[in-house]
Amino acid sequence: MALAEVLIAVLVLAAAMVPVLFLFPSGARRSAFGEAHLRAHLRARALLGQAIDMAVRTGFRDLPENQSVPASDGSKGRETISFEPVRGFEGLWVVTAVVEWAAPLEDGGGGERSYQLQRLLHKSEQSLGADWPLVAGGER
């Protein structure tokens, strides 16, 4: 009798464990915005900040159109910063930070994943170096 009770108890426990196991991290990896994306977002945000600091420090000179380097955490990925001048808006750039990484097998496997953040940046000293014509002489 006691043995039968224990067996029943084990079966009930096993049945209850199954749905709980799916709630642990290996199940969460398959969501649309996972931990990897979150890491990529944080890294892209940091890259944007660094790029903007660099632009201000160098006086907006020699801004790279496309600068790609291996991922800073040593993984098989790449980080890219680019400054694209906006046509018709001299002194305004679109700054883009792209983080690329190789998706792990648990995430559906194979292929590159990428995450991109963009921001506009204007030349902060623009008004100090502006140019405009003068009315001739001192007349209105």
């Binding site: 009930v12 749905p19 808006f89 002194g91 953040l117 902060s124 014509p133 003068l134």
Partner: protein, 543 residues
């Protein structure tokens, strides 16, 4: 009894109890994992989307800033003129910036935004307030406020909203000679530091007396002249104006003390600078006149020895004409000075009105309106810091104040832009500066309590003012050293000329240094609107 109960129940309760306990624990674990883990994840996602919303808001503000800074320097845009209108004391000066708040670029970034449903709800830019620096209602400082609100889909939660507000300071400053001194080609706030008008008047009396002496000599000689020279003597006699006529033509300079000197002039008019110190100029040129008069006296002595000699008379006539011509030249200098310059004495209301405005030439004023203040720092001289700044910006506008530059600051080559360069203390050399200036370039060099050397042809307006008090390491007044043949194309404003100054060469008036006719408002394009590259504050609201 106890043993009977245990046998009768057969131990059924214990496994059930264990299973129930474990089931409760598992349920708790499951609930925890389900709720908190997903909550953490959802929170992380919302945080990321919030960052994205903030980045879009920052982009919107960046585009607004770009547009405001561009339009503030474009005469074809309404904002250019709005920011250069006068704002009187007591007025708030707040105004919306309507024309410059359209967003063309930031909305394009929404397509690439990783956050779903990102939208720029609204954006705006306005001038929050403006205040005059001092008396000039066109020179002001103020604050521009930029705002943007961005929302993204925050599913499963409500929409995420980020509102960004950024404040940037700005200044509207004169990019030329300070008013009202920009109205003059030459302004000297203390005439007696420039020349001695009383001494000029004494010399004038001597010249008039000398002309009378020459007239007397001519009359004496004419009485003894041979008949064939009568007509010659008569012509020479009639060429000398009467004493009263001469005295009327050659003005007496006002000798009130203190007094100031002003000259307006037209575009391109020449002002010989050595003639500004009229007393010194006359003293130098009198040497020739004195020598010439001595030759007349020699000819008179020769005539006394041979009164009937025609050649002696010819010699006398010739030396008299030469001597009178030199006297005429000296008196013409006094006449030209009176024609070209106006002396304003302390008894005139205009004197007080002008002297009161000298404060606009002093260091305190420049410290308030300066866009950059350069000092020697970190082993870098003021000169090298200025050169770096000019190289970095390319075109320099507004006021750059160089404090105590130490050695010598040399400005050669071209400085494009509308720049007022203020140097307090120190030694400045202008050597062919801005010779290649474009018509829209303005360079005003202000020297406070220092020395300025002008060599070659310099296209600039020059302002010399004092640096009294603790700020002055040496004599408070500024000294000017013009090289022979130097040319200054612009204007000259001197508060008080320092001892040891040398004025040589010429000034040519450039009307573009005027910021507008007196009493008729200001020319907008003589004022620079400088928006600070740094934010005064930055606020982010989460909703």
């Amino acid at each position: 009894m106890r043993a009977l109960r245990a046998r009768e129940t057969g131990g059924v309760g214990l496994p059930l109890l264990v299973v129930l306990t474990l089931l409760v624990l598992l349920a708790f674990l499951g609930f925890h994992q389900l709720y908190f883990a997903s909550h953490v994840q959802a929170g992380s996602v919302r945080g990321a989307w919030g960052d994205v919303a903030l980045a879009v808001a920052e982009s919107a503000v960046e585009e607004l800033m770009h547009r405001v800074k561009s339009d503030a320097s474009d005469p074809s845009r309404a904002l250019f003129h709005q920011l250069r209108k006068d704002v009187l004391a007591g007025q708030m000066g707040a105004m919306p910036i309507l024309d410059s708040t359209r967003l063309d670029v930031a909305p394009r970034l929404l397509e690439q935004a990783p956050a779903p449903g990102a939208k720029i709800d609204w954006s705006s830019a306005e001038v929050a307030y403006q205040r005059q620096f001092e008396e000039n209602p066109w020179e002001r400082f103020g604050l521009i406020r930029y705002r943007a609100r961005v929302s993204v889909d925050g599913s499963p939660g409500p929409r995420l909203v980020r509102e960004l507000e950024v404040g940037q300071g700005f200044k509207v400053v004169s990019a030329t000679v300070p008013r009202p001194f920009d109205q003059a080609a030459v302004y000297v706030g203390d005439l007696w530091s420039l020349t001695d008008p009383a001494d000029v008047n004494r010399r004038r009396e001597r010249y008039l007396a000398a002309v009378e002496r020459h007239r007397g000599w001519l009359d004496q000689a004419m009485a003894r002249a041979p008949a064939q020279l009568a007509e010659r003597y008569s012509e020479a006699r009639s060429a000398i104006p009467s004493g009263s006529e001469l005295a009327g033509r050659v003005p007496v300079l006002p000798v009130t003390r203190p007094a100031l000197l002003v000259a307006s002039g037209h575009q391109g008019q020449e002002f010989p600078l050595d003639a500004l110190d009229l007393a010194r100029k006359l003293a130098a040129e009198e040497v020739d006149a004195a020598a010439s008069e001595a030759r007349v006296q020699g000819a008179l002595a020769a005539l006394d020895a041979a009164p009937a000699s025609p050649s002696a008379h010819e010699t006398l006539l010739s030396t008299l004409e030469q001597s009178l011509e030199l006297l005429q030249g000296l008196m013409s200098r006094i006449w030209a000075f009176g024609e070209g310059y106006r002396v304003v004495g302390v008894e005139q209301p205009e004197y007080q009105a002008l002297v009161r405005r000298h404060a606009g030439l002093w260091l305190d004023h420049w410290r308030r309106v300066a866009g950059f203040v350069l000092r020697e720092e970190g082993g870098q001289t003021v000169q090298s810091r200025f050169d770096s700044l000019a190289r970095r910006l390319g075109t320099l506008n507004g006021v750059v104040l160089c404090e105590s530059p130490g050695g010598t600051m040399t400005l050669s080559g071209n400085l494009p832009g509308k720049l007022v360069l203020v140097v307090s203390g120190g030694h400045v050399v202008l050597d062919g500066t801005n010779g290649g200036a474009r018509p829209q370039d303005l360079l005003t060099v202000v020297v406070l309590g220092g020395t300025v050397e002008v060599r070659g042809e310099v296209h600039a307006a020059l302002v010399l003012a004092s640096l009294p008090g603790e700020a002055a390491a040496g004599p408070p007044d500024s000294k000017a050293l013009f090289a022979p043949g130097a040319v200054l194309r612009g204007g000259l404003v001197i508060e008080r000329l320092g001892a040891g100054s040398v004025l040589a060469g010429s000034l040519f008036r450039e009307e573009k240094y005027s910021s507008g006719p007196a009493g008729r408002g200001a020319l907008a394009d003589r004022y620079a609107v400088l928006v600070s590259p740094l934010a005064v504050y930055r606020k982010v609201a989460h909703r």
